[in-house]
Symmetry: C2
């Protein structure tokens, strides 16, 4: 029987040296907030790095207090005896650079001015996120080598980037529900979300105060994005055309269907935990992600990879559909790399990597321990 | 060689008698704006009624002045010698009840108060739209019988509704890219669009003045909806990851990719031609559309149909995917009706019914003249 990680606490790694972003702009330093579960072995070679998606954070397993109603976002796969077994592996997860859950992002104070960065924060890339993580692992935890990097969606992009940027220091990659480059459709959805935020008068050119912000725009962006994380069939199964209760004596455009009520709730709750400017920066990093080299092929970039790679795609994911997951593996195989592809039949869309899925657990567990 | 309809003018049918909506509320009267092309024959049995989609209108062919840069929205299929041949058929198209292009809708003045209806306008249904059309055809044009009803998307819903409500008065139906009921995913997208509009402070509870309105919210709603009218592959083919020119010295979140610039343009231009409250009402009519009867089957409702039916689906349409188009035909066939289904291979998504498609023209032309 798998157990639970239990009570966990976060830590902050503070880097006081300048960090030059891929685009050339310089941060005077940065903080990454992270959590760890399990124990680093003496050889320091049992670390599994977890990379989170757009709206995720460093808290991927366990609880912060005994009254916590919800554990970390990947608690179903991380823990003693679970697929990512904390009795065997030292699991690390950090909030990305540009984020808003403790790591340095646009809502952080610029030490040079004493004011929040807002839009003076430089554009960060997936590569910048990975370089900041690498530094944190080395300097805060003394970890030079990773047993594996695992992540879904934007986390999968980071896993790939790890394999490319640090080929000699990572043994296994498990990118899930991801892509080697953001498609036009995915860019389009992100752009509409960004415009919803930026056209909210409360955005104020990004310079909203700590108590305010474009809540309405951010909620709309989140609701739209949330549809892309599910699937047509999954929504049909879960909501269909079910009405909300108390249908009478309401105004024309109140939530009438369950699916409307569900989305409104998703929008409201997201606003309470996420910063709108971080949403702009991180979604932009996603849109700019493209592993194709100057000659237009994936092979140019993936040739650097030395890790063994297991790519996992989900049949009902239409944001990063199986074809995009497969393309990564095909390019790796054309380069003669050790890569395999598993496609799981699911009806839950892009978010399939986050839900209870014994088939996924077996794949991950075997790949990590083999 | 097919010719052009050429210069056309619209007409207004004004009904001064009360109109009771499906929901029970009463309009003191209504206006429908319409256009006609070709000539009604002596037997008055050569009318082809065209029904438009959410953002369409009565102007589906020809030009309004010699300086018009764009003809009506379905000019490629309607005209002398075209698939819907105006030398043979009398083509009629009206702006739907609830619309904003001349027909009575929430922005119209309530004669009882002298003020615009705004949200006092009753919720209208697809059935209400069809009943208003029927009255207009009979009273304004003396037409009792239709050779065919043709429409895509919401226009296809109206075509089906015509066949159900007036089985003895319509000979042929061509519903395209449509559904017998709005799916949870389609409702979800409409709901996010409505919230974008209603949460724009300029919406003012629906009571914005004639010069104002929630332009920002409406543009966001339109941009998001526009993504659902295209397809992943179509967007990849058209835009891919092409950058806009003049990339330097711009701010972080200006349009960077062509697809972003295209969507922004779509949003801006829609605001100039569409009323936000009409968008709320018509999208709601779509969401409420469900031809399934009390026992939960389509057959209960479709049993009434006597017309021959040709349903056309498009392989890349993910808003009303082929499976939903097919379901209509299967139910008709189970009822012993004369129905057939054509599925066209396209990459242009839901909007495929609007673009140049010789295969579609042949199907429509043969079905109308057979």
């Amino acid at each position: 029987m798998p157990g639970e990680v239990g009570l966990v606490a976060w830590h902050d790694y503070v880097c006081k040296e300048p960090f030059v972003c891929e685009g050339g702009a310089e941060l005077p330093g940065f903080t990454l907030r992270y959590e760890t579960y399990g124990h680093l072995n003496k050889a320091k070679d049992n670390t599994v790095l977890i990379c989170h998606a757009l709206s995720g954070d460093h808290h991927c397993a366990g609880i912060h207090s005994l009254s916590d109603r919800k554990p970390g976002w990947w608690n179903n796969i991380i823990g003693p005896g679970k697929a990512i077994d904390t009795e065997r592996f030292f699991v690390v997860c950090s909030n990305v650079l540009g984020g808003c859950q403790g790591s340095t992002g646009p809502s952080s104070v610029d030490p040079r001015t004493g004011q929040p960065y807002h839009l003076d924060f430089p554009l960060v890339s997936i590569s910048d996120m990975v370089r900041a993580q690498e530094r944190m692992l080395r300097e805060a935890l003394g970890i030079e080598r990773l047993h594996a990097v695992v992540g879904g969606s934007m986390g999968g992009m980071q896993a790939l980037q790890w394999g490319i940027a640090y080929p000699d220091r990572v043994d296994r990659l498990i990118p899930m529900a991801t892509t080697a480059r953001q498609s036009a459709q995915a860019i389009a959805f992100n752009e509409v979300g960004r415009l919803a935020i930026m056209q909210d008068p409360e955005w104020k050119g990004g310079a909203y105060g700590p108590g305010g912000g474009p809540d309405v725009g951010l909620a709309v962006a989140r609701m739209m994005a949330h549809i892309t994380y599910l699937s047509d069939r999954g929504m049909e199964d879960k909501f269909g055309r079910e009405r909300v209760l108390g249908d009478s004596a309401r105004s024309h455009f109140d939530a009438e269907f369950q699916v409307e009520s569900y989305l409104r709730y998703q929008g409201r709750s997201f606003v309470n935990r996420f910063d709108a400017n971080s949403y702009l920066y991180i979604s932009k990093a996603l849109d700019r992600f493209d592993l194709h080299g100057p000659a237009g092929t994936l092979e140019e970039t993936l040739l650097a990879v030395r890790a063994r790679v297991l790519v996992v795609g989900f049949s009902s994911d239409w944001l990063f559909p199986p074809s995009q997951n497969r393309a990564i593996v095909h390019a790796l195989l054309r380069c003669g790399k050790n890569a395999s592809y598993a496609e799981l039949e699911t009806s839950l869309g892009h978010d399939s990597f986050l839900v209870h899925a014994p088939e996924l657990y077996t794949l991950v567990s075997r790949f990590l321990t083999n």
